[in-house]
């Protein structure tokens, strides 16, 4: 059978419900009519035929319903399919259009890729560090107190407080020596109350956690290991459980291994030991502090309730203290804050600042691409206008424009993701080393969603310019204006220039921020730490008290070590000390100053540094008064001290401190001052330190100490010498952190350096993009005005005049950008305050340098089109029409 003639599509694809109902009715009616006629032809009466036709159908009304439901579904399916096909076709058209103009597409995609990539990479860091919840059960119920507590206070608070489901404590940053498997190593560990892991809601992946008896005196010595440390020590984490290790000279059984993702209180922590709470030992129980609280708030409890309860309980604990009675008000200003707040802390401000900077870069990138796009659409305007006039419809044309924008943005987004993937690896080492939670940073679904959002936002932003223009009469205008010369409307030029001015303003903000940070970094690096770090190598020797049980053992051990090291070739001087400046935390010691300040409640805090005689020679610290320590300052000699200039000026202004005494009379200690040395910074170049007391190492020896060696040999060579010297003195004592002291000082400003580097990079990108934008707009303008410029030149204008015409335009744009940007930069600059040292946010040098930099680069970008304008050949352009 051949298809009946006249079969054709009668019905348009867009059908309403009524249309579907009518069609179903018509189909059934047609069938009934045809069948009735057939039966009549076979001899039935009209009525009988009609009845039989209906009977043959069965349930007519049910059928009608069924067919309608089914047709409506088919209809929806078809419409959806056609929409997809339409979109696919339009995207193909857009892609083909973009492929034809490789330069435009390349520049636009690269620009967008940079912007989206930087944002995506930084967002993944912000997300991991700041936004994601802590990886603990119900983490928003976890809180911490703003100060550390005495062991006893924690123990009693845990017993007495009602605000928490669980209250635990930890002391972090403990340097712990681990030996007994291989080469002894020193790792960072934490002391944890037995319920710490349970409070966080995290159990070990292998073995078990601490039990209450582990935190009591005489409890079984145990340890929990991080996944990484267990793997390093035993190869396979699972087999670590039940094995024993030598921890600071004490044999401990490994009872559990934490998951790789467990990083509490920070990533550096690799071993957890029980915090021992022994009421019988009042000295350790009531005398050792620094226990950080971690509480899981009970149902209904708030941080404010917990705070009030804590203050009230602390008032009782003040009186319970058998060693001394602290002064009132005691712990009245303690606050309770979410644990996340404590862990994320200051990283939030820095990261949000950087994310803000990349957002600026993306904005500038969008502005640039928007301007390019505007030019591109303007060039096709007549073509588009003709299509609109021929019935293409404005909607169809806008659709083309927006789709082209989306295709561009998606290409940029894909490139951006690739850049973010690569960039993130490059970025991580640049971030401040103590940034918390870096282990949470990953390109995951959340980051992909962010990249998608940034992409669509970018598409929306830069497609807006041509869309606004087309809607604002661009299409109609294009047909009316006709000829090429008049093609550029004033409105479009205004929009393009406004966009460039905006770019310039944003670039000024970033430039000023970067300049401030660079100046701050320079100021930091110019700070004199008070000693010479060049050529000095530091090394930590972490002997435990069990390994060196007496003062004599400590003296003997270090004497043997120093003897071997000073005998090594190339070593000019070597010293042993408690801890070197810039090599970790110094604990302050309260001490009395005889005849000046002895009230136990008002004792000043000193840096307390046991040093061997050559210490000042190694660090090249000159003696300002008196003498240095000598080998004669032995344990049985007169206890002596050297103080620093800060102490001398504070306690004996205008007098000589020599012969005066400082000390801790409650320990029967009075030290006679024999010398004065300059003050040094410790750990932080920006902070003036407490006054310092130096004592002879021989008179106050320590088990764990730091070596300082002045030598022309490399750190690597010295490390070998130190290790063999220490091994010879005691086989199980770990040596760690062998580093150039200069590197330690350098690292102390790594946070500022990292932020400065990143922000400067973003500012540079912004500057280049801004200059490109400026160049694009002026070059296009010159091209458009070639005829006018040609006429001017033909009428006798000198090339220099034409050149300055264009340069003036450029200068105007830069000037407007600076005028707009500087107030904005001043407002935004205030967020930098916490990061700056020695530079105010309204630093005049920066306020001049940043705009000047932009002005120079902007004018350079204007110079190229200006030169071209002055070289227009009048004959060619006039003949052009």
């Amino acid at each position: 059978m051949i298809l009946p003639r006249g079969i054709r599509r009668v019905v348009p694809w867009r059908r309403s419900r009524e249309r579907i109902r009518a069609d179903v009715d018509e189909e059934i009616a047609f069938h009934l009519e045809m069948r009735t006629r057939e039966l009549i032809d076979q001899g039935s009466s009209a009525t009988a035929a009609r009845q039989q036709a209906e009977r043959e159908f069965g349930n007519l009304s049910e059928l009608r319903n069924d067919l309608m439901v089914s047709d409506a579904r088919e209809d929806r399916k078809r419409r959806w399919l056609e929409a997809v096909q339409d979109a696919a076709r339009d995207i193909r058209i857009a892609a083909r259009g973009l492929a034809r103009t490789r330069l435009f597409t390349g520049v636009a995609v690269a620009t967008l890729g940079l912007g989206i990539g930087a944002n995506t990479a930084l967002f993944s860091v912000v997300d991991g560090v700041v936004l994601k919840p802590l990886p603990y059960t119900d983490a928003q119920r976890l809180v911490t107190a703003s100060v550390g507590f005495l062991n006893a206070e924690f123990d009693l608070l845990r017993e007495r407080s009602r605000s928490y489901d669980q209250l635990a404590a930890y002391r972090s940053g403990q340097g712990i020596g681990v030996a007994g498997i291989d080469e002894p190593v020193r790792v960072t560990g934490a002391l944890a109350s037995a319920n710490l892991h349970a409070t966080l809601g995290v159990a070990p992946v292998h073995g078990r956690g601490f039990a209450p008896e582990h935190e009591r005196a005489g409890g079984e010595p145990v340890a929990l290991l991080s996944h990484g440390l267990a793997a390093e020590l035993f190869g396979e984490p699972a087999i670590a459980v039940g094995r024993t290790i030598l921890v600071d000279g004490l044999t401990r059984t490994v009872i559990g291994v934490m998951a790789p993702s467990f990083a509490f209180p920070n990533l550096q922590t690799r071993i957890w030991l029980p915090l021992v709470l022994d009421p019988a030992n009042a000295g350790a129980y009531w005398g050792v502090g620094g226990a950080n609280l971690v509480g899981r708030l009970g149902p209904g409890a708030t941080t404010e309730q917990a705070r009030q309860e804590l203050v009230a309980l602390a008032a009782q604990l003040r009186l319970d203290n058998p060693l001394w009675t602290p002064r009132e008000p005691y712990r009245a200003d303690v606050t309770i804050e979410p644990l996340a707040e404590r862990i994320i802390g200051s990283a939030r401000a820095t990261l949000l600042l950087l994310l803000g900077a990349t957002a600026f870069v993306l904005l500038i990138a969008c502005a640039n691409v928007g301007n390019l796009y505007l030019v591109r659409i303007a060039a096709r305007e007549r073509d588009l206008a003709v299509r609109a006039a021929l019935g293409g419809g404005t909607g169809q044309i806008l659709r083309t424009v927006v789709l082209e924008g989306v295709v561009l943005a998606v290409c940029g987004g894909v490139l951006g993701l690739a850049l973010a993937f690569v960039g993130l690896r490059a970025l991580l080492p640049f971030l401040p080393a103590d940034t918390p939670r870096l282990e949470q940073v990953a390109l995951d679904a959340r980051v992909l969603a962010f990249a998608l959002l940034a992409t669509l936002l970018a598409a929306l932003l830069f497609s807006m310019l041509p869309v606004v223009r087309l809607l604002g009469g661009g299409l109609r205008g294009a047909l009316q204006e006709g000829g090429r010369g008049a093609g550029e409307s004033r409105r479009m030029r205004r929009v393009s220039r406004a966009v460039v001015v905006g770019e310039m303003a944003l670039a000024v903000v970033l430039l000023l921020g970067a300049t401030l940070l660079v100046r701050s970094l320079a100021a930091l690096q110019a700070v004199d730490p008070g000693f010479s770090s060049e050529g000095v190598t530091a090394a930590r020797v972490s002997a435990a008290s069990r390994q060196l049980p007496s003062a004599d053992a400590m003296r003997a051990f270090y004497a043997r070590v120093m003897e071997r090291i000073t005998a090594a070739p190339g070593v000019r001087a070597a010293a042993v000390t408690g801890q070197l400046p810039f090599d970790g935390e110094f604990s302050g010691t309260a001490a009395a100053v005889e005849h000046v300040t002895t009230d136990p409640n008002e004792l000043p805090t000193f840096k307390f540094r046991p040093v061997s005689p050559d210490y000042f020679r190694v660090l090249e610290m000159p003696l300002l008064a008196g003498r240095a320590f000598t080998e004669a300052d032995r344990a049985d000699a007169l206890p002596v001290a050297i103080i620093d200039q800060t102490a001398a000026e504070r306690f004996w202004p205008g007098e000589s401190p020599l012969g005066r005494r400082v000390g801790r009379p409650w320990m029967n200690e009075w030290l006679t001052i024999v010398g004065v040395v300059p003050s040094v910074r410790s750990n932080d170049l920006t902070v003036d330190t407490d006054p310092a007391i130096y004592v002879p190492f021989a008179q106050q020896p320590q088990d764990a100490a730091t070596l300082a060696i002045r030598s022309e040999r490399s750190t690597g060579e010295l490390a070998e010498i130190i290790r063999s010297a220490v091994r010879a003195a005691h086989p199980d004592v770990p040596v760690s952190n062998v580093r150039a002291l200069g590197a330690l000082v350098h690292d102390s400003v790594s946070d500022t350096r990292a932020v400065t580097l990143l922000l400067s990079g973003f500012a540079a990108v912004a500057l280049v993009l801004g200059a490109l934008g400026m160049y694009g707009v002026l070059a296009f303008s010159v091209q458009r005005r070639a005829r006018e410029l040609g006429v001017r030149l033909a009428l006798g204008a000198r090339p220099g005049e034409v050149r300055s015409l264009v340069l003036r335009e450029g200068a105007l744009l830069v000037g407007a950008g600076i005028a707009l940007g500087v107030p904005l930069a001043l407002a935004v600059g205030r967020t930098l305050r916490g990061l700056l040292y020695g530079v105010g946010t309204t630093d005049m040098v920066s306020l001049i340098a940043a705009p000047a930099m932009l002005g120079l680069v902007g004018l350079f970008a204007a110079f190229l089109p200006a030169r071209r304008a002055s070289r227009v050949d009048p004959a060619t352009t006039l003949r052009g029409d």
């Binding site: 059978m1 298809l3 018509e26 069938h31 043959e56 067919l67 089914s70």
Partner: protein, 115 residues
């Protein structure tokens, strides 16, 4: 008209019959109904409602395509045509039916011969 026993249709059989009908060429629902009635000489009792539901079912499965056209007597009518996958389906089902029918005949054979 002699009395003939009408048979209830086995599930799925109607779909094959419809596909077979459309193999002749595109036609409307009435055309399908008439052709089945003529070919089976009324032995199969096909309700027209079931027929139309079968057509929709086949359309949803992509075996049949529906389009509006104009009938022999110049009326607007909905025409159904076999799609390529419909033709393929018909061939498979036909082969299956043949084998089924042969198997059943082989069992029923002797008695039927004797009758």
């Amino acid at each position: 008209m002699p009395h003939v026993t009408t048979l209830e249709l086995v599930q799925g059989t109607l779909d094959v019959l419809v596909l077979r009908t459309l193999e002749q060429g595109a036609t409307h629902g009435y055309g399908v109904s008439r052709w089945i009635r003529q070919r089976t000489k009324g032995v199969l009792d096909v309700q027209d409602a079931a027929l139309y539901k079968a057509l929709r079912r086949l359309e949803r499965r992509g075996l049949v395509r529906a389009e509006w056209g104009v009938s022999e007597n110049n009326r607007r009518a909905r025409y159904y045509a076999l799609t390529r996958s419909g033709a393929r389906q018909l061939k498979q089902e036909t082969d299956a039916w043949r084998r089924y029918a042969e198997a059943v005949s082989a069992v029923l054979g002797p008695q039927a011969e004797g009758a």
